[in-house]
Amino acid sequence: MKNTPLTLVAAVCAVGVFSGAAMANPVAPGAVAFDEDGAVAISLTGVAGDAVNGAKIMRTKSLGNCISCHEVTALAEFPFHGEIGPNLDSTGDNRNAAEIRGILTNSKNTFPGTMMPAYYKVDGFIRPGNRYTGKAPEGPLDPLLSAQQIEDVVAFLLTLK
């Protein structure tokens, strides 16, 4: 088997990348447990969120693009902020991590009928597409944000006080 050395390398890499206990099993989008108010108590990854990266996700169009709809004074240097959703300046005072995680994962469990997209959901859509191509998806959908990206945004929003 000529491929054996490569296969071995790949296996070693995989172990290397995912060997952290927490990273091994992020909660799958379909397995997230919401409470009756739409909150999600348990971290999706078990790894503490990185607030700096969370801020970057919020302002980056190809990632969370949160400021498209929400005004956030802490991100004022990155125009333009929308006014569709509420101002998030006091989120850290008004919401705990579980509530924020639930809203990011699927806000419709917290606010029925809200316009806000669900950032950690992969099925149950009508005419889902392949990203922004307008074409049918080629395989299973990825969530809009990864489990760790959700945790990073939770960490950033908790700093807004």
């Binding site: 498209s68 709809c69 004022a76 333009f80 997209p117 669900a118 859509f125 597409g129 191509t133």
Partner: protein, 288 residues
């Protein structure tokens, strides 16, 4: 000249400093649209009866555009869409197809024969027993009377023919029928309007009924009215058809779009057009 320059600089500075949250558009939402100093356009009016419970007012997309974009539509010499109307005027008299006919062969002077047409489309066609959009009617003429190839639904030649026909109704109120034989298709279009599609789960109504007049990033959301179509869009410097725009909107919900010219988009066009009943025909309008 220097004075003008410094004024512009001041405006630019004011813009840079003042609109971090408010978005880029400085729309004159109280502006009045008069074209060529004489043709008054109704850009705000009471909604048609079927929308009375949903909206207090129906508003043309012109109202939500930046002042300099609004101004481009006030004079036909400034409106880039009118260049395409001129080209379509030539198309109108050009013989095409196996029957040796042009549009003018049957319809003579476009200014007379097409006055009022755009205001009532999409419209039931008794003979064909179907709802026809303006694009469908144009292609029916081409294939059945002229023996010519149909025009591609969202391409430039179709868009400019729609513009030529639309401009003959400019200033007339949109008056699309929604009952009788068109009702079933109208209901289908209405259901589409309120269906949340794609991975972002957004319906037309989320942005254009529930959130018009608000900024999403730097874009100032309008009611998504179609009375101005075809529109000259500054961002791509050409005429855009209603179906072309619908496709872009649905795509931006991270959905698989419907096809321009499909029965689904025809139904949506009928329904959305009816939401503008009472607004003036503006095509070709100017938007960003």
């Amino acid at each position: 000249m220097n004075k003008l320059t410094s004024t512009n600089t001041l405006v630019a500075l004011a813009l840079a400093g003042g609109v971090v949250f408010g978005g880029a558009a400085l729309a004159d939402v109280d502006g009045v649209l008069t074209i060529n100093g004489e043709l008054e356009i109704v850009t705000k009016t009471t909604p048609p009866a079927h929308l009375a419970d949903n909206l207090d007012e129906i508003v043309s997309g012109w109202v939500y555009r930046a002042a300099e974009t609004q101004e481009l539509q006030m004079d036909d010499f400034d409106n880039p869409g009118m260049l395409f109307v001129d080209i379509a005027q030539d198309d109108w008299g050009t013989v095409e197809g196996t029957e040796g006919k042009s549009c003018a062969t049957c319809h003579d002077n476009v200014e007379d024969s097409m006055a009022g047409v755009r205001a009532v489309y999409p419209k039931w066609n008794d003979e064909a027993e179907e709802v026809r959009t303006l694009a469908m009617q144009i292609n029916s003429c081409r294939t059945e009377r002229m023996g010519a190839e149909p025009l591609k639904i969202t391409k430039g030649k179709m868009a400019r023919m729609e513009a030529l026909i639309s401009v003959q109704s400019r200033g007339m109120p949109m008056n699309v029928a929604i009952d009788g034989p068109v009702q079933a298709m109208w209901e289908q279009g209405k259901e589409m309007y309120y269906t949340r599609t794609g991975q972002l789960e957004l319906s037309c109504a989320n942005c254009h009924e529930d959130s018009y007049g608000l900024h999403i990033r730097s874009d100032f959301l309008s009611q998504g009215q179609t009375n101005g179509f075809p529109v000259y869009r500054l961002k791509n410097a050409k005429l855009t058809t209603a179906h072309g725009r619908f496709k872009g909107c649905v795509r931006d919900t991270r959905a698989e779009t419907y096809k321009p010219g499909s029965a689904a988009f025809n139904a949506l066009e009928l329904y959305v057009a009816s939401r503008g009943n009472g607004l003036s025909v503006e095509g070709p309008s100017v938007r960003n």
